[in-house]
């Protein structure tokens, strides 16, 4: 076996460290998503914009030995299709993992976009297909489909993407999509079909994943729970006839010593405003994402110290206090972080999407100090 490491492009801007939300790189002020502040590359008059900083991270990641990076998509972020095509020419090996919801694009258009992006990047595009989320926020995007319906739609979308890929006339009559004699034009047909990282924890998601996913991607959960999840995914998808691999998206804080690593987290926690803690303590689940509620399930009922959020050795569940996204992450010395990653490999992980703040400097740190220590043996 072999393990692939990806990094993340922080589409929602980023603080200059885990310790403090300011100064902030990009024009997203933390905690206030309806105002705009000029930060580094924040749309000033110098002609630079946030893409210049994102380009720095992508190049740091490819130099540091990552395969590429996940490009997340949320209502407040720039879009990964745009970012990928814009950075195609100035990167060499960086693979663009585009997070997107299939319902937002016509599948035949998406097939042509994908093949063109493969041509523009010399085959460096791949997908993180998102289907869940949902609830009222799905209508923000203009999407009216319900939760389980959306997985049916994802399956149909990927059926069509694969169907038109080889350039022979393809017809399809689905619940959501109908196509008559569609085909990609030559030479777009020369390209490899992109690898698919698939997210979603519900049963409907697993049925769809078993048909189309190459990797089943999950947030970090407590290790025992994750082992059970990977086994369930592999069991279910094996039964449906497709071998899929597993991948983990995880935030890390790695320092030369464990003490230094926890100091980062402690300083970050202490710099949180009381309102942020209060909101964290009282936050009710929203939307109908199963993955998000699995994460939230083991949060302590009230938090007074960063230590309250240590759920097992080197695992801290307060990362979503420091920035958006998932709660759980790995904190420790370089050796410890590498060991925890190896633990995850042993319980079934074949690929990782790592992230740490700030993503530019930490890409070098993790690439130089942590990845060489990972054994990658199951």
């Amino acid at each position: 076996m072999s393990v692939d490491f990806f990094w993340r492009l922080p589409t929602h801007g980023e603080p200059s460290s885990h310790r403090n939300p300011a100064p902030f790189r990009g024009d997203w002020p933390p905690g206030a998503d309806n105002s705009q502040r000029i930060g580094l590359s924040g749309g000033g008059e110098d002609g630079f914009s946030y893409i210049d900083y994102v380009a720095e991270i992508a190049k740091a990641a490819e130099i540091s030995g990552f395969h590429g990076g996940l490009i997340p998509s949320f209502p407040m972020t720039d879009e990964p299709w745009a970012i990928s095509s814009i950075l195609a020419r100035e990167t060499k090996t960086f693979r663009f993992m585009i997070a997107f919801q299939p319902g937002f694009l016509n599948p035949v258009t998406a097939a042509r976009m994908t093949a063109s992006l493969q041509r523009a990047t010399n085959g460096r595009a791949l997908f993180n297909i998102i289907t869940g989320g949902g609830g009222p926020s799905q209508l923000w995007w203009g999407d009216v489909a319900g939760h389980d319906d959306r997985y049916t739609r994802t399956t149909e979308f990927l059926d069509i993407l694969r169907g038109v890929w080889k350039g022979e006339a393809f017809s399809y009559n689905g619940k959501f999509y109908q196509v008559e004699n569609a085909a990609l034009p030559y030479p777009l047909t020369k390209e490899e079909f992109p690898e698919i990282y698939f997210s979603g924890s519900s049963d409907a998601a697993l049925v769809s994943a078993s048909k189309h996913a190459d990797y089943y991607l999950t947030w970090l959960e407590p290790f025992a729970q994750l082992r059970e999840k990977f086994e369930r995914v592999k069991h279910k998808t094996d039964a449906l006839g497709r071998k899929i691999k597993c991948a983990v998206r995880v935030d890390i804080v790695a320092r030369p010593t464990e003490e230094e690593a926890w100091r980062e987290v402690k300083r970050g926690f202490e710099n949180l405003s009381p309102e942020v803690i209060q909101r964290f303590n009282s936050r009710a689940g929203s939307g109908d994402s199963v993955g998000a509620s699995r994460q939230g399930g083991f949060r302590p009922s009230s938090v007074n110290s960063y230590k309250d959020l240590i759920v097992e050795p080197n695992i801290w569940s307060g990362f979503n206090l420091l920035r958006g996204g998932q709660g759980n992450g790995i904190v420790g010395s370089y050796e410890q972080v590498a060991e925890r990653l190896d633990d995850l490999v042993k319980l079934g992980a074949d690929a990782f999407i790592l992230a740490s703040t700030p993503h530019l400097e930490e890409a070098y740190r993790v690439g130089e100090e942590v990845l060489p220590l990972v054994k990658g043996l199951r």
């Binding site: 946030y50 745009a82 041509r119 923000w140 034009p185 030479p187």
Partner: protein, 352 residues
């Protein structure tokens, strides 16, 4: 009024007025050996057509065009990927990107557009086209009836403008629905892409009059331009007129006509000379299969400059030009035609 000159980016392939075969410069197959086996070829498969498209975009930027039009051509590469690919290699060009309202969620399109605006210094522009009829649409996974195409364009623009400029924004139409939408934070406050629409029906012109900044005309005959412009201006006198036309310009008329006739002989095209009493000559459907334009001005630099000046006097303030091959002809037009037109439009604006 400032006149803009836009050059076409040929997204599905190029050709030469002296050699009508389709080419995709840079595109290579492993088995595609064009040289004798005794001649070494260093290229391998390192290049493809994107490398050439980038050169055409740079050529337009370097030679003083105001923008590029990225063709929506189902036989070629996808226009939104191409625009991203050339975005950071160009400095001044308006990036006019053609597509259809069938591409998916209007919110998603608007959101991608905001990223292109933010990262290009607001150079992104939209040309929303109505497509090639029901059969082609069905191939594209789009079951829309022909009669509904313009209504969908109308809704697409309402939704896109809505989420870019307002929050919260809600909409419920026949094709799109949004609840409590609208962009926030750094995605708020960005300009709506400049909108180019086209079409000669009353409905198309009415939608342009309401939403568009430019209405693109592609008339079959030069003589039809004046009445068409009058119809459009009657609906909205502020709506700018953009003319889509090809140029085959040479130092002399003889050279230009020779190239046009050779091209016709190679393509067996149905093109013919439009009977008119003045130069340059106007050919119909000369290189349409390559450029999608109906008309080509064929003549000397001087005559073509005069004809373009006539168009300007008739009310055209934007030109979308093409010529094949698009790289060489961008330099030719940029060097031999645009400078004098700039002088004309500058002196006109100075006098005004």
């Amino acid at each position: 009024m400032a006149i803009e000159f836009i050059w076409q980016l040929p997204s599905s392939g190029d050709a030469r007025f002296g050699d009508a075969r389709f080419t995709k410069r840079g595109e290579r197959d492993n088995e595609n050996h064009v040289y004798s086996s005794h001649v070494t070829d260093p290229r391998g498969t390192r290049f493809n057509y994107f490398d050439y498209l980038h050169q055409v975009a740079r050529a337009a930027d370097l030679t003083g065009f105001n923008g590029i039009q990225i063709q929506h051509d189902l036989a070629g590469d996808e226009s939104w990927i191409i625009v991203g690919y050339v975005l950071r290699g160009t400095r001044h060009l308006k990036l006019l990107t053609e597509f259809e309202a069938s591409r998916g969620s209007a919110v998603y399109a608007a959101k991608n557009a905001v990223s292109y605006q933010r990262f290009s210094g607001n150079r992104f522009a939209w040309q929303i086209s109505s497509g090639d009829g029901e059969q082609v649409r069905k191939q594209q996974g789009d079951a829309l009836a022909e009669i509904d195409t313009y209504q969908r364009i109308d809704e697409f623009i309402r939704v896109a403008k809505g989420v870019i400029t307002q929050a919260p924004f809600s909409f419920k139409g026949d094709f799109f629905e949004v609840l409590e939408g609208g962009f926030k934070g750094p995605l708020a406050g960005n300009p709506v892409p400049t909108i180019y629409l086209s079409g000669e029906s009353d409905q198309a012109i009415a939608i342009s009059a309401e939403h568009a900044d430019y209405h693109i005309i592609n008339p079959l005959k030069a003589d039809d331009i004046q009445p068409l412009i009058q119809r459009i201006n009657a609906k909205n006198p502020e709506l700018a007129i953009s003319l889509r036309i090809d140029l085959l310009a040479r130092e002399t008329e003889e050279e230009a006509v020779a190239d046009a006739e050779r091209f016709l002989a190679q393509t067996a095209s149905a093109a013919h000379i439009d009977t008119g009493n003045h130069l340059p000559l106007v050919y119909q459907r000369l290189a349409t299969q390559h450029t999608h334009a109906n008309l080509t001005l064929v003549g000397s630099y001087a005559d073509i400059i005069l004809q373009i000046k006539d168009y300007i006097n008739a009310g055209v303030s934007s030109f979308i030009f093409a010529g094949i091959p698009h790289l060489e002809e961008a330099y030719r037009i940029g060097e031999h035609v645009l400078p004098q037109l700039r002088a004309l439009s500058n002196s006109a604006s100075n006098a005004a």
